[in-house]
């Protein structure tokens, strides 16, 4: 097993899929000559040329629509959002078009495309660059939503997303790009729609995804050190949600903490909680706890930013409440 960064894992996935299938191309702002705003596409232009690594004008709605049109007639676009904060400029294309074309046409057309890039807060990027939008996309039937937490997941899930025939929203994180982890040698895929149990336990289930998983993991280690048997779930895919794995865990532990970066009100954690209340209410020994961001636009100052976001201590405190 090689140890590589999350960024390298994504880069490898893109490289392997572009080499495998010449219908796959990468399009977005600064993906070519600049090698990506976060260098995820490093070296791709040199390897695949300008035809397949395409720099766009700053025009999210335009190039997302181009991806949809190309996907409708047989290509497999990977559209990079420099950050998902900008994806809302393309929300009409994503929600009204990509997500609905297959259904509206009675199954005559499909839209096999991936829209990927970092989401959520990074380091003092302030209000307009620090938003976790996954619940926007999860709300809309027709989209799949994937949020990898580790280099291994990033590579295996991105390769699966590119091969998937549906529009897939693939949200990465600026703060994860430099994180390192083991990645299996050779080609591998991680299926969409399947969560994993990262650590098994019997007392509390902690559910998280993307970079919040790392915080949940720290909290889990601390709690386990105190003798609390925590089961930690890495969701990997938010939609379709692996309900079965979640429910089975809740049946075992009876207590749940959900950790997400989004705002609490209408956040994705509320949906997980609803799923548990609907399908495993009788197994719960206490109300579900949620750890989410404070409901304000992200402030700039470092201490204020820290106060908004979930952290290890907030997760531990939530676990102690139940």
């Amino acid at each position: 097993m090689a140890i590589i960064t999350y960024r390298e894992a994504l880069n490898q996935a893109l490289k392997e899929e572009m080499a495998r299938d010449d219908k796959v191309f990468l399009m977005g702002e600064e993906v070519g000559f600049y090698h990506g705003a976060y260098k995820v596409s490093q070296g791709l232009l040199e390897e695949f040329g300008e035809k397949r690594v395409i720099d766009t004008p700053i025009t999210e709605e335009g190039f997302t629509g181009v991806g949809i049109g190309a996907a409708m007639v047989g290509l497999r676009p990977v559209i990079e959002m420099m950050t998902f904060n900008f994806s809302i400029l393309a929300l009409d294309q994503i929600v009204n078009h990509a997500a609905k074309i297959r259904y509206m046409s009675g199954g005559q057309f499909k839209v096999p495309m991936v829209i990927r890039g970092p989401g959520g807060a990074a380091y003092q990027l302030a209000a307009q660059h620090s938003q976790a939008f996954e619940s926007y996309f999860c709300y809309c039937p027709g989209l799949k939503v994937v949020m990898p937490a580790t280099p291994k997941d990033a590579k295996g899930l991105l390769k699966s997303a590119i091969r998937d025939d549906n529009p897939v929203i693939f949200i990465e994180s600026e703060t994860l790009y430099n994180t390192k982890g083991e990645v299996p040698d050779g080609e591998y895929l991680i299926p969409l729609g399947k969560a994993e149990i990262l650590m098994e336990g019997n007392d509390i289930t902690i559910i998280s995804y993307s970079k919040m998983l790392l915080i949940a993991e720290e909290a889990t280690r601390a709690l386990r050190g105190e003798g609390v048997s925590v089961e930690l779930i890495n969701l990997r895919t938010l939609k379709p949600l692996d309900k079965e794995l979640i429910i089975n865990s809740v049946k075992k532990t009876g207590r749940v903490v959900i950790v997400e970066e989004g705002w609490r009100f209408g956040g994705f954690g509320a949906q997980i909680a609803e799923t548990i209340y609907s399908e495993a209410f009788d197994y719960l020994d206490s109300p579900i706890e949620r750890v989410a961001s404070v409901e304000v636009p992200m402030p700039y100052a470092s201490n204020l930013e820290k106060a908004v976001l979930p952290d290890k201590d907030k997760v531990i405190a939530a676990a102690r409440r139940i």
Partner: protein, 292 residues
């Protein structure tokens, strides 16, 4: 059929604008592509769709083009490369541009026609798409059907430059403006633009000046325009004027016209009959066609 309650939802009629889609689409090959906005019945039929399946879709029946899931504003026909049927103003213009991108990517010489109304030229998607296709030289022909009203708002109250084809200048794009009530003029202009797209991969914006004889949708009595204006425009009915021209030139005879009109009426009656007799979609298909 709408007033009788067989067609639901919004229903935007194409009456008055026929010369645009017929003239334009008649210049295409089978491997070309067509995308339209929500006033799409004409484009879908002109592309060769079976009127029975179109009518059944309007009726929301299982035998419709889209199994009753699309409706009037979302007609699609993969067999005829008719890619929709889109009801967010201007939203399909980047998508048509993407189809052209794919054709160029795959070294195909297919062309894309993208139809929209003049109401779409003030929205961002139009400008983003035109900038992309002009910068990347994509084989697409944008056809703006300027029927003078965006719903109830006349063009003079909606945009600062009425001469819509001039908007192409902002993108150094080829342009043309034509009489959209003259089917041959439309065809001539579109043929030229299609050739340019096919052979040189250069996009064009064509403004076809036309007029819709009915309101924005079936629910609109069109009080925002005068009776005199409508009457004046009706004199230029593209079907009648073209018929008169062909009669005058001796290309058609009265008896041919009569038999054609009877044939068309029969075709429509058969389409209505087919739609009436077709079953509603089964509830079982509700969640189908969402994910693969």
């Amino acid at each position: 059929m709408f007033t009788l309650g067989y067609i639901g939802g919004f229903c935007h009629l194409y009456i008055g604008q026929e010369a645009v889609c017929v003239g334009a689409i008649s210049s295409l090959r089978e491997d070309d592509y067509v995308l339209s906005a929500y006033r799409d019945h004409g484009h879908c039929i002109a592309r060769g769709s079976d009127p029975k399946k179109v009518m059944a879709e309007l009726f929301g029946k299982a035998t419709g083009l889209c199994k009753g899931k699309g409706g009037s504003m979302h007609l699609f026909n993969a067999e005829k490369n008719f890619l929709g049927g889109f009801a967010i103003v201007g939203g399909h213009i980047p998508i048509a541009t993407g189809v052209a991108f794919a054709n160029k990517y795959q070294k195909k010489d297919s062309c894309v026609l993208c139809f929209f109304g003049e109401g779409a030229v003030n929205i961002g998607a139009f400008h983003e798409a035109l900038n992309i296709s002009a910068t990347w030289k994509l084989p697409v022909v944008y056809i703006c059907e300027n029927n003078r009203y965006g719903m109830g708002t006349p063009i003079e109250r909606a945009t600062s430059l009425y001469d819509i084809c001039q908007k192409a200048c902002a993108y150094s794009m080829e342009r043309d403006h034509i009489d959209g009530m003259d089917v041959l003029a439309v065809r001539k202009s579109v043929e030229k633009a299609v050739k340019r797209a096919r052979e040189d991969s250069i996009p064009t914006l064509i403004e076809a000046r036309t007029y819709r004889f009915r309101g924005h949708s079936m629910l609109d009595p069109a009080h925002y325009r005068t009776k005199e204006e409508l009457e004046e425009q009706l004199k230029g009915d593209p079907i009648i004027t073209f018929k008169d021209k062909l009669l005058k030139e001796g290309i058609l005879s009265d008896s041919t016209v009569q038999s054609m009109e009877e044939g068309i009426k029969k075709e429509i009656d058969e389409a209505v009959d087919f739609a009436m007799k077709s079953p509603a979609p089964s509830i079982d298909i509700l969640s189908e066609d969402l994910y693969i």
